[in-house]
């Protein structure tokens, strides 16, 4: 195998353009790493042009929800809660199932996945496991954004829009010489009132900038530098208590906000000679964020969480391909590696109500009243948790494409090693007294320190077959694998410390419970990688203004990662490997765009179930995987009228998602819901004036569910928003 890889490397030659270019009318869509055009890819692909992005008012990743069949990115919480579900895969925390690439640069930190963009030329989604070429965290698919480049003749653009919730969004993009720059700003007052504080809880201010430079120092050498920066400050966590089948308003008393600075610097070097074309990409990624959250989401002072993260990472990728694109064998061989260090501080502070209800009530329930009872005099009790998490990855991959007349065979393999290590340093401190024996308070400090580490090695093969039925029709089948990295549950450490503190307090008193407070220990906070095998058949048709595609898939998942809420009055949540699951589904996309008429349909059905999952209390085997919509739907219709030399565009869209199960048992579920969007625009050569709306019927619904301290909470879908704006093309 090594010889084969070396031979491939030595004989690899490539076209000048390393990225796939697929020509749709008036647009150019690129997908990093792929060797063949979209029509010849033996997997499901969704390509959205800049025109579609503009008409559907897509300016951040979660706007793509349902627009891409099967993709579900609920809009809730804050920017760091970019939860992604695709083909029955996904979870609400830790590693994503979808890889995000911006101009070929992999975005490592999921906390940076949700951002506003401007100047995006195309969005391409490779659906299904893409582990062979893209490695970790691409088992659901890969989302690739391509932004304006100096090589394109893009006119400078300025956009301003204003509307509901005092929302202002402004953006600009321009190309000048070897440089392309884009910038966008958004402010909103927010949509949901925190009735406890009598103010809107989800305001947002965000600024995103990108600068791209492309230089051709020699004919065969192309250098590209991309610098991206996202800065945001926002509220959030608009969660209402679900009690007695009633969803109460948002009402919490503590601070809830999120600040983030993300900077990504990428440098790309393309060199091409007569035989080999090489592509080297290095990126440096920095993310600094700070989240403060009232974690009981109630007017009581139970407990708060502050999570500060300083994360730095470096990635490196090298790919070699054959230059001559006309020969039937097109190999590519590559190497990828990254190193990331994340300094995470996540202090949990128990307020007076939390000390009473979570600690004292719990502790005193084990002590006979005639013996005495515990008191804690502190108004607040901090549980400090500091982590240094290092992770690293090295991978070697190869893919060969054989073009044999009407047949195309693609085979690939990836050897992927990943390691991670976490140093934890936690401390709980309080002053307690046992009544009646102790006459004064006593200080108790409970330190908890240590290191945990894990390593994994994955072999990720891929095999696919494509048959060109005619010039406009292809069908394909394939088998591929993907994996999602393992990790550490940092959020459960407050639970661990809480239990350790109660046990330490009892031990300090010389009191021993028959059933001591049990919690997971640090060594139990690791979770393993999740891997998925995907079998897929599909067909694609593109003829003139009509295009259609359908894909039927079956995915088997082992070591399924799932967020669970430990039973009882626990304060944490944790990711765990729950067993096996499988999802099968159908995805279809149709488009017909004759002349000035536009129509688009994207629909998916997914049946995702546990095959083997018993949490020790209940057997959930056969139940639906929570949070995964059984259907996603997008139906878009549009028409452009000529009006005095201008165009009057009407576009309407329906987005549907659901039904969902919110928990493993299915006791909480959500029906299928539909949202209506619309846009009217008057377009001239140099400007566009538009009015657009989302959730025009102001349909209510619940967009997310979770539990905290035994209580159930839901996030509501955002209410109707109306925006009016103008775009100038200079």
């Amino acid at each position: 195998m090594t010889m084969m890889l070396l031979l491939s490397l030595l004989t690899a030659v490539s076209p000048l353009n390393d990225t796939l270019t697929h020509e749709l009318p008036a647009v150019s869509i690129t997908v990093a790493k792929e060797q063949v055009p979209v029509e010849r890819m033996a997997s499901a692909v969704s390509a959205i042009s800049s025109e579609s992005i503009r008409r559907s008012s897509t300016y951040r990743p979660n706007s793509l929800s349902s627009l891409i069949p099967g993709l579900h990115i609920p809009d809730y919480g804050a920017s760091l809660t970019s939860t992604i579900y695709l083909r029955g895969l996904g979870s609400r925390m830790e590693n994503p199932v979808m890889g995000l690439y911006i101009d070929g640069i992999p975005v490592l930190d999921k906390n940076a996945y949700d951002f506003d963009w401007e100047g995006v030329q195309s969005v391409t989604m490779l659906r299904g496991p893409q582990g062979t070429l893209y490695g970790r965290n691409s088992m659901g698919g890969v989302l690739s954004l391509s932004t304006i480049s100096p090589s394109e003749e893009a006119r400078p653009l300025v956009r301003v829009e204003y509307g509901s919730a005092n929302t202002l969004r402004a953006g600009t993009s321009l190309v000048a010489g070897d440089h392309a720059v884009s910038m966008t700003f958004r402010h909103t007052d927010g949509h949901f009132v925190n009735t406890c504080q009598n103010r809107l809880c989800d305001p947002y201010d965000g600024l995103a900038m990108r600068w791209k430079w492309v230089g051709h120092s020699r004919e065969r050498l192309c250098l590209t530098n991309i610098l991206m920066m996202n800065l945001s400050e926002e509220g959030g966590f608009a969660y209402g208590l679900w009690q007695d089948s009633v969803l109460h308003p948002v009402s919490y008393n503590e601070e809830g906000n999120y600040r983030r600075l993300s900077v990504i610097e990428g440098f790309r070097l393309n060199y091409c000679d007569e035989v080999v074309k090489t592509d080297a990409l290095v990126s440096l990624q920095w993310l600094s964020d700070d989240m403060r959250m009232d974690q009981d989401y109630s007017p009581r002072s139970v407990f708060t969480l502050q999570q500060r993260q300083q994360s730095g990472a470096a990635t490196m990728e090298f790919i070699a391909r054959r230059t001559d694109a006309d020969v039937s064998w097109q190999p590519q061989t590559g190497m990828f590696s990254f190193y990331r260090r994340n300094r995470l501080s996540a202090p949990v502070t128990f307020g007076r109500d939390g000390i009473e209800s979570l600690i004292l009530d719990n502790a005193n329930s084990h002590i006979p009243p005639e013996v005495g009872y515990l008191t804690i005099s502190d108004e607040t009790m901090p549980v400090n948790s500091d982590f240094v998490i290092d992770s690293w990855n090295v991978a070697l991959f190869h893919e060969s494409v054989w073009d044999l007349d009407r047949w195309q065979i693609t085979a690939g393999i990836r050897f992927d090693y990943e390691g991670a290590r976490m140093d934890y340093d936690c401390l709980a401190r309080l002053h307690y007294r046992f009544v009646p024996t102790m006459i004064r308070d006593k200080e108790l400090s409970v330190p908890y320190q240590g290191t945990v580490a894990h390593h994994c090695f994955e072999i990720i093969p891929k095999l696919s077959l494509l048959y060109r039925v005619s010039d406009v029709t292809t069908c394909y089948s394939g088998i591929s694998k993907g994996y999602r990295a393992g990790g550490f549950n940092t959020q459960i450490f407050s639970d661990i410390l809480q239990n350790l503190t109660m046990n330490a307090m009892m031990r300090d008193l010389g009191v021993y419970l028959d059933r001591p407070y049990v919690s997971v220990s640090a060594s139990n906070t690791e979770y393993d990688p999740e891997s998925a095998w995907n079998m897929e058949v599909g067909a694609r048709l593109r003829e003139n203004a009509f295009h259609a595609e359908a894909a039927l898939y079956c995915i088997n998942v082992v070591n399924q990662q799932l967020t669970v809420f430990p039973p009882g009055m626990s304060t944490g949540r944790m990711m765990t490997n729950v067993g096996r699951s499988r999802s099968r589904g159908l995805e279809t996309a149709l488009g017909w765009n004759p002349d000035r008429f536009r129509s688009q349909l994207a629909w998916s059905w997914c049946d995702a179930r546990f095959v083997d999952y018993n949490d020790g209390n209940e057997d959930y085997s056969g139940n639906r995987i929570p949070y995964v919509p059984q259907h996603t739907l997008f139906l878009g219709l549009g028409y452009s009228f000529k009006l005095n030399g201008k165009m009057l565009d009407f576009d309407a869209g329906l987005r549907g998602e659901g039904p969902f199960n919110w928990n493993e048992s299915g006791s909480q579920h959500e029906p299928f819901r539909i949202r209506a969007d619309g846009r009217v625009a008057l377009v001239s050569d140099n400007w566009e004036l538009y009015v657009r709306g989302e959730n025009l019927t102001d349909a209510s619904g619940r967009s997310f569910y979770f539990k905290s301290v035994g209580n159930e909470f839901f996030a509501r879908v955002k209410p109707r928003t109306l925006m009016t704006g103008i775009t100038f093309k200079l």
């Binding site: 046992f434 024996t437 102790m438 006593k442 300090d508 008193l509 010389g510 009191v511 028959d514």
Partner: protein, 151 residues
């Protein structure tokens, strides 16, 4: 621990032999941890708990001591076990061992004095590698027999 006690006993014996005294050799009880059986009489029924650790801690003069009982359950219904210390026990060192006694003592438990289990009628002795004592904890007649714990 056992060796230490033998050494101390031997040292004590040497010291005593050097003194010009009319007293016979006395054995001075020293610090020691014992493992044994605790018997608590509850509603006229004896409840025995094995492998109960007891720590015997005499003062420097050797005439007074405290005894700590670890993880004691006085009645089966108790959902917890507790550490409890009986201070102020008189020690009389004799040639056959140390005699222990205490008329009344407020034990220490759960961070302070615990009068609910006031000790009365404490009688016991440390002899060789054995310790035995009986007492009343509050209203619970209690007795203990243990052997010196090997290190």
């Amino acid at each position: 621990m056992k060796k230490t006690i033998y050494l101390l006993l031997a040292f004590a014996a040497v010291l005593v032999s050097c003194e010009k005294t009319e007293k016979e050799d006395v054995v001075i009880a020293v610090n020691g941890d014992y493992i044994g059986t605790l018997t608590v009489n509850y509603q006229e029924t004896d409840y025995e708990t094995d492998s109960v650790k007891v720590s015997f801690q005499p003062n420097e003069a050797g005439d007074s001591a405290s005894i700590t009982l670890y993880q004691v359950r006085f009645v089966p219904q108790m959902p917890v076990t507790i550490d409890i210390t009986v201070p102020g026990i008189s020690v009389e060192n004799t040639e056959n061992g140390a005699l222990l006694s205490c008329v009344q003592s407020i034990p220490l438990a759960m961070g302070g004095e615990y009068p609910r289990y006031t000790v009365t009628g404490f009688q016991g002795e440390v002899k060789g590698e054995e310790i035995t004592f009986s007492l009343v904890f509050g209203s619970y007649p209690t007795s203990y027999r243990g052997r010196l714990q090997e290190e």
